[in-house]
């Protein structure tokens, strides 16, 4: 559970839940918006991870 990916996913779950509840009023809209946010977080994290991969850090 303490892997980078696992913690990123957990972080994304919390942030998506809060933002979805803040920005949408109907439960159905919240669920859909939260799912899209979560997918966006994960996709962006993986994409940025791969973009950084060749850098000599």
């Amino acid at each position: 559970m303490t892997s980078h990916l696992g913690l990123m996913a957990l972080f994304s779950v919390f942030v998506s839940i809060v933002f979805a509840s803040l920005m949408r009023d109907e439960p159905r809209d919240q669920l859909w918006f939260g799912a899209k946010l979560f997918a966006g977080f994960i996709a962006a994290g993986v994409l940025i991870g791969w973009l950084l991969y060749p850098l000599p850090l």
Binding site: T2, F11, F14, I17, V18, S21, D25, E26
Partner: protein, 133 residues
């Protein structure tokens, strides 16, 4: 996003009181305004997120501004955004932060972002109390 017609019937509540309660207990402002679903969601999600930060051995940054470490002061303000859980965790001796722990920075991120998100929740509760949402 505008509230539905049913939600727009608000009780007469002091917005300053709502903001203070919303800050002290995540989600409590919405509960006071009878936004039950949102209130419970914020209460569970933000409290769990802050607790996860402590579980990951993150640090609760101390209040007080040291010019040599300005980011510590900013992190403390962000941590404080979570309200009473900040003080309860401090009182219980949590949040010392173990710098050598592999999850230390993750823990800090969870605790800091939980505080910042609660600040947004306070602003949302304020808007609801004012009748703007």
């Amino acid at each position: 996003m505008r509230a539905s017609a049913a939600d727009q019937v608000e009780p007469a509540t002091n917005k300053y009181l709502v903001a203070a309660i919303a800050w002290a207990i995540p989600g409590a402002g919405h509960l006071l305004l009878r936004r039950w679903q949102k209130g419970v969601t914020f209460l569970i999600a933000l409290t769990l997120m802050f607790a996860t930060g402590l579980w990951l051995e993150g640090r609760i940054f101390p209040l007080g501004f040291d010019l040599s470490q300005p980011l510590v002061g900013l992190a403390a303000i962000a941590d404080l955004g979570i309200g009473l859980p900040y003080f309860i965790a401090k009182f219980m001796g949590h949040g010392a932060g173990r710098v050598v722990a592999i999850t230390y920075e993750y823990g800090n991120a969870f605790a800091i972002v939980a505080g910042l998100l609660n600040m947004l929740v306070v602003l949302d509760a304020w808007d609801v109390a004012e009748g703007r949402k």
